[in-house]
Symmetry: D2
Subunit: 343 residues, 4 copies
């Protein structure tokens, strides 16, 4: 018998992936599935690809969630705060895939989300769940906020270089390209097939809410304040994020230096691989891995770092399970796919 888990918000894309991963995990068992408008529906009607008996979605209300070993929350922005704290007060471990507990300070939260946090004093209790940068904090915490998808891809590409003094943390440009699942399973005009297929667009230009999270990550892990120009783009594919990070390098830095910094930082990481050629998102879609490649434009003395992840796995559900593995003292890779899906 494995640890008992609840998945609150199981009807969305990230929630569905958590269920899929836990179903295959040797040490966890899904004991409860919560949903909001889909409460009462069969899991097989909400996620027809998930087959495992005749499970039904229950409610997202904290009161309805039984006492389990760990609850995963995959709720829209603003909806986790209350549920998460209620479950925490009942002594459960909680891993929040949403954005409510990612920030370290109420100010940063307000900068990102435009309104004050409902329970600002609680923010300090939550570890920031990016294992490659905050492994010990996660392992020692009962409450973990899994990072956003763009911050995951961006921070893996940035932090070693900032920490190593190789790039300036205040002149960073990030252009990221995401598959459509990053927007969640929302019924929006701009997410219709007719609006997405065969086109690319930027969005959230200069004001995307993941930008403050990226700057927080730089500051907390590299110890220096970051300033980032962040432009996300929507590309016509289901999954995957490619972050293309550019920043001026310090004098004397070579491409080899850049690569060495990453190889040193990630040499022992099971889920991060440093590659020589530009990584394609499809090489990691379906996997919990991240691929990083570093280049140097000699003429402009600019580092170009490419970082590819599956936004729903390493950028959401996979990372949450990786954090859970750490929190329970399990093998960090347990139940997490290494191989991706091609073609």
């Amino acid at each position: 018998m494995g640890y008992q888990t609840a998945v609150v918000g199981a009807s969305g894309y990230a929630g569905g992936e958590v269920v899929r991963l836990l179903d295959e995990h040797p040490d966890f068992e899904v004991a409860y599935l919560g949903a909001h408008s889909q409460a009462g529906a069969a899991l097989s009607s909400v996620h027809p690809h998930l087959h495992r008996g005749a499970r039904v979605l229950d409610s997202n209300d904290a009161d309805a969630v039984p006492n389990v070993d760990v609850a995963f929350l995959a709720l829209p922005h603003g909806s986790s705060a209350l549920v998460g704290l209620q479950l925490a007060e009942r002594g459960m471990k909680v891993i929040d895939l949403g954005s409510d507990f990612r920030m370290d300070t109420p100010e940063r939260y307000e900068e990102a989300y435009g309104s004050p946090h409902a329970r600002p004093e609680a923010l300090q209790d939550w570890a920031y769940g990016l294992p490659e940068l905050f492994r010990d904090e996660i392992a020692g915490s009962e409450l973990v906020a899994a990072p956003g998808c763009y911050p995951t891809a961006s921070l893996l590409a940035l932090v070693p270089l900032v920490a190593g003094g190789v790039i300036e943390p205040t002149e960073i440009t990030i252009n990221a390209m995401s598959g459509v699942s990053g927007a969640g399973r929302s019924l929006r005009e701009d997410l219709l097939f007719g609006a997405v297929d065969e086109g690319v667009r930027a969005y959230g230009v200069t004001n995307h809410r993941h930008r403050p999270e990226i700057e927080m990550g730089i500051e907390r892990s590299a110890g220096r304040a970051g300033r980032v120009t962040f432009t996300p783009h929507l590309v016509p594919m289901q999954r995957g994020i490619l972050a293309t990070v550019t920043a001026p390098v310090a004098d004397g830095v070579t491409r080899r230096n850049l690569q060495d910094v990453f190889r040193t930082a990630y040499g022992d990481e099971p889920f991060v691989e440093v590659v020589d050629d530009p990584p394609q998102t499809r090489w990691v879609v379906g996997s919990n891995r991240a691929l990083i490649a570093a280049f140097l434009d000699e003429r402009t003395r600019t580092a170009v770092v490419l970082s590819a992840i599956d936004n729903l796995l390493k950028g959401a559900a996979g990372q949450a399970v990786q954090a859970a593995n750490l929190m329970f003292g399990l093998d960090e890779t347990a139940g997490l796919p290494m191989a991706g899906w091609m073609p």
Copy 2:
């Protein structure tokens, strides 16, 4: 330590999927990887999504393949015959994902492929590896020919109705729609993104080589000669086959009858599920499952049966591993994914 396996033809799509499945399988281990033009290349360069150490592709020559418990062959049409028989003669179990040993007679082979079989006397030694129809033969055989992707989807939709006398086996129309991976990893003008994306086409009209295999399957499993008008179509997606089968029904047959026939036939099958609504290919892409739905057009007295599979899993690599599980007396579902990938 699991059973040792060799994957010959590991550089293609189906071969890559065999490797991925075996890597995750509790009872098998990949001991050898063969390739033709890619011999000598790193697995990570040929299949960048498959991560498991620093493996290198070796040769496809039978002489180079070590003595393993079972060899999987994923070779182009015509290339398996020799290798397969050489490995068989050395006493190994062999599972051929190719088309060389699927037919029961030399005549049928020639009808499908237009030239005589190189070793016609060997055909009778190979079981036809569709477990739902030929489970015992597979379990008792050392040599298995895994069925084609279209025949798998089609036969699962046809055989129970023919066997039950519900439809005539000589007035069957099959229109099938396949993702592009069904054409293999070939460098062809008509498989370029610029030629495939945003379009649909029929091909192999009236003469596709899977048609005789479908008719053979009907005859061998339902005991009646079949005659099929088969039109495959290429649709702009990576994976998945939907077979839409139409055939006049016998007098008095109701939709409920059709559904009952399937529910009876597949009630205990772990990988076949009978559903009420039209199944989408995406519900099974990534999974070894098949979904079947049956309708009756009352006006024309025609059954419309829909059958959805992942052409690379239930239609190729997954089915081959399912057969291997049977051949080794393992749990038939061992190492095979139930859940698909969505989004």
Copy 3:
């Protein structure tokens, strides 16, 4: 100065295409644009691809439409009846791209749409706007109902064979594959990119409302009652329909006979071309052309006819403009694109 036109329902896909075609047409001018929920919005915000000054959408109410030479209606099912008749009573020519006036009898309408027609006596006043089959009626009519997209592709592939006595009209199977724009610009869960991309599905199995329209077209143009098993499929692309039609042929018929029937029927048609190889939808997307190819399965004595159109052009807006050209005595090809878009 060209003839003045109004486009009612200009905010949808078909309406947008009517505007685009009329903007480029030498003899028509768009004098009025109507919309429902988008009334008051700039055309450039509703159709950002259409650039021609600073036009604004007005109302879909018949009262708001000025007296023009011809009104094009591109409204949801059920919404054209009233508007269309009001405009007709004011003496305008009207071309309805919707389904309200396509049927020849109230009975057929009810069979297709499940409820009685609001103004059954009006049905006989409307010509069925498929020029290749009903050219004279269209040219002589003030009111034209443009056919549905599936009926257009299907009837072009069927009528010459039925009329020529080459196939039986009561044993016809049509499997059609459509791009997503065929479903219109609706905000529906099942039309999200996440639900459509990388998958194929059948829908409307045994009960799609275009089936009675197809049977009507057979009856009215070939003079024999038709019976059709019709299964439409949604494929992950924006535009295009491929209809794959199968039917048993009469004794002695050869493939050459089939091809000759089509070449004779369409030899002088500017928009229909008979080809030898299976036509791809992309060859006609962007064009008002239809491509037809005929095959004969000798073993099953079944004709397999493939018919490809752009559902928004020959299947909607292009066909409507073609009808308008006839109604005004213009060159039938005026303003209509011959070349498609590739890649």
Copy 4:
């Protein structure tokens, strides 16, 4: 009768688009079609979407090209130099869509292409065919080199800001996303549907050959040396380029200033529109228009400029025809589509 034209290299994507545009152009006529390996083939087999009689492709050899008013060359890199100069010597106007004559100096050519130019003294005779920046030169020239697709999108977004002293020309970062047709109609493994669909990748990182062309364009039109970090990406769609340009702004600059600079620069341009929201590539696919939007990240004092074009029209064939219109003193917009294709 219009001006007579030859299209050399008519079998590729850009060549096909030139033919399509000229076929619809009121003042030009296609008198000759050349091809290399496809010489002798029917146009309808090479470009099945182009329908206009039974034309056949002839040779790409200059000797075979008749005396026409203007020749369009759409040849692979390195193949235009000889043909172009031979036709020029015969007194024809020539518009080269290739890269052989785009550079202003032999040094710049070698920097971009890695080898010396075959006829360096000829470079000065060719105008750089970006009408919005070099209209007078084009109008007065017999020989025009149409710009690359990335340079077109990038320069339209950059030059007004550099010329206006609003951004520094030496700290520019360009991240561009292109549809697959930008790579041409080449039979390459990495352009197969199986390799492109559902993934995004960077390529040519730090060394793409369009970078020197962009820097040349800045220098020649804004009069200041440019230095650019350029990273192109391939996204899974047929057409369209989005260039996302970031650069630090001068003190005191506001977003309004940025927008005003563009509105002033392009206020009278028929094919460039300045928009407020992030432009989507699909708004311009099928059109010769470019859409520009400018943003200012106040925190980092960085301009973010988005520029969208159809790479095959404004980025290739459309721009070439626009240049031809200027060279012949025609209306600059003659025969060029304003409306794009949606959905």
